[in-house]
């Protein structure tokens, strides 16, 4: 029932009394940063009509209904000198760890989603969504295979006049490693550990699709619904997002954009870990 804050010398993140991430403080300045999980219900279409196919492996086609997962999140807080964590439980099938390491200037989100319940006969596509007060004016950036960041404008294409019939999926773009938005003063970037779909459907908000479980084929050739089952249940997916938030300051060294690239190198080209049984060795022998 109380606000909770974790952090380090670079930043603090706070969670409101409902258990949701609510703000981030960088250099003494507090800004809105809310995160939650929502899901889209999948469209059951008519595969005989090419423009009305079901949401499936090839097509992301929500039926227009967006559902929130919960109004309150259970929290557990772990504090220490190396890492501070908040363990969040959103529902029986969505949980997350929000983590701040002592010497890192980003926030790590380790989400776990699944098995997605489909007993109601409705496929679901789950997204992690971040909300800020950034005045992004419909503009956001997604990367192109980990290389250039491409400028995307909501409900717009550069070379033709666009009349979007599907307002959600029509604004989704592939995100291989990074999605970002900014205004003149602040910037938010989310790095992902695997290719995902992402968008900014409102000014100041970013979202990435983390998991989906669908019950109908979309008639594009796979001939089965995207309904992965493990041990007779739906698949559980676990992964990470890394969030960088900060003031846009061209004089800062490194700039926030440069920090994103350094972090990309660090998390996407990680060290290789090897383990050895040292039961038969004294430390001095090993040394």
């Amino acid at each position: 029932s109380q606000e909770v804050t974790i952090g380090n010398k670079y930043l603090n993140v706070s969670f409101d009394s409902s258990g949701f991430l609510s703000s981030i403080t960088v250099d003494g300045v507090t800004n809105r940063l809310r995160q939650s999980f929502v899901y889209y219900e999948s469209k059951l279409g008519d595969n005989e009509e090419p423009r009305n196919r079901s949401s499936g492996a090839y097509i992301f086609r929500p039926n227009g209904t967006e559902q929130t997962v919960t109004e309150t999140v259970q929290l557990k807080v772990i504090r220490g000198g190396t890492v501070q964590e908040v363990h969040q439980v959103f529902s029986e099938w969505i949980s997350q760890v929000v983590r701040v390491y002592a010497d890192e200037s980003h926030v790590e989100f380790e989400w776990m989603v699944g098995p997605i319940p489909v007993d109601d006969g409705i496929g679901k596509e789950i997204v992690s969504r971040f909300y800020t007060a950034i005045q992004s004016n419909g503009v956001f950036w997604t990367d192109s295979n980990g290389r250039d960041m491409l400028r995307r404008v909501r409900n717009h294409r550069d070379t033709w006049k666009l009349d979007l019939v599907e307002k959600i999926s029509g604004n989704y773009y592939p995100v291989t490693t990074r999605i970002a938005l900014e205004d003149e003063t602040h910037r938010l970037a989310v790095l992902n550990d695997r290719a995902q779909g992402g968008s900014s459907l409102e000014d100041g908000s970013l979202e990435l699709m983390v998991h989906r479980r669908l019950l109908y084929d979309d008639a594009f050739g796979v001939h089965e619904p995207l309904n992965e089952k493990a041990f007779g249940k739906g698949l559980i997916a676990r992964g990470k997002h890394w969030v960088l938030f900060g003031a846009k300051n061209a004089k800062a060294s490194p700039t926030i954009e440069a920090r994103e690239r350094f972090l990309q190198n660090q998390v996407l080209l990680p060290n290789w870990l090897f383990f050895s049984d040292a039961s038969d060795f004294k430390y001095e022998d090993w040394q």
Partner: protein, 221 residues
């Protein structure tokens, strides 16, 4: 070279657009996972051999190699070393049989980048007290963090780990490696009594300190 070729061939298959986007049928997805797992396992023979060339010569000698049961006939058996470097492919579900069951183990980080780096290492463990030392015998600050309850509840994780050991591995040299020695500590009499008390009362003392089998059914691979 044949070990590397297994991964080359698997990556050749994975360039199919269905493997990139995930639009393959489920049984094909399962087969892709099987191929990649086998290929990465084959390549571990190479990383193992190279790391053993770096370590002290007295631990470099390879032991007699035996073909593994069920191994592909075209893939030569992996050499066995006195000091073996193994990977834990299930760290993403907070599971590593070696770190969970051994009282002493080493963690080696190879930095594939051309500049120095750092990483917060997380490994699943079952004990309460551990000491992490680097190669200079300097103790590295480490923290034990509970594994989130929803992860612990996963019925098919097959792990006894309830916590993760977290420490900062820093100054990792470019295109080089750094190792840490981790030992489980019983540092007070009270801990010692607690430690002994948590073991089964029956059976000889030597059996009590042996790591217990994780109870993983052999049918899961």
């Amino acid at each position: 070279e044949p070990h590397l070729t297994v991964l080359r061939e698997a990556l050749g298959v994975m360039q199919h657009h269905d493997a990139i986007t995930g639009t393959e049928k489920q049984h094909v997805a399962n087969d892709y996972a099987r191929m990649l797992n086998r290929a990465i396992g084959a390549c571990s023979a190479n990383t193992q051999a190279i790391l053993n060339q770096m370590v002290d010569p007295k631990y470099r000698r390879s032991l007699r190699s035996e073909p593994e049961p069920g191994a592909h006939p075209e893939v030569p058996p992996r050499p066995k070393y006195k000091f073996a470097f193994s990977s834990c492919h299930l760290l993403n579900v907070s599971k590593c049989e070696l770190t969970e069951s051994k009282d002493s183990f080493t963690i080696t980080l190879y930095n594939p980048l051309a500049h120095a780096g750092h990483q917060y290492v997380r490994v699943p463990i079952t004990g309460d007290h551990y000491i992490v030392r680097d190669y200079r015998n300097v103790e590295v600050p480490a923290q034990i963090v509970p594994i989130p309850e929803p992860v612990q509840r996963l019925s098919y994780r097959f792990s006894n780990a309830t916590s993760e050991l977290v420490f900062l591995a820093n100054e990792l040299p470019p295109l080089g490696y750094k190792s840490y020695f981790v030992s489980r500590a019983i540092d007070t009499l009270e801990d010692f009594v607690h430690e002994m008390g948590s073991k089964p009362a029956q059976g000889p003392a030597s059996a009590a300190v042996e790591p217990s089998p994780l109870g993983e059914p052999t049918r899961w691979q």
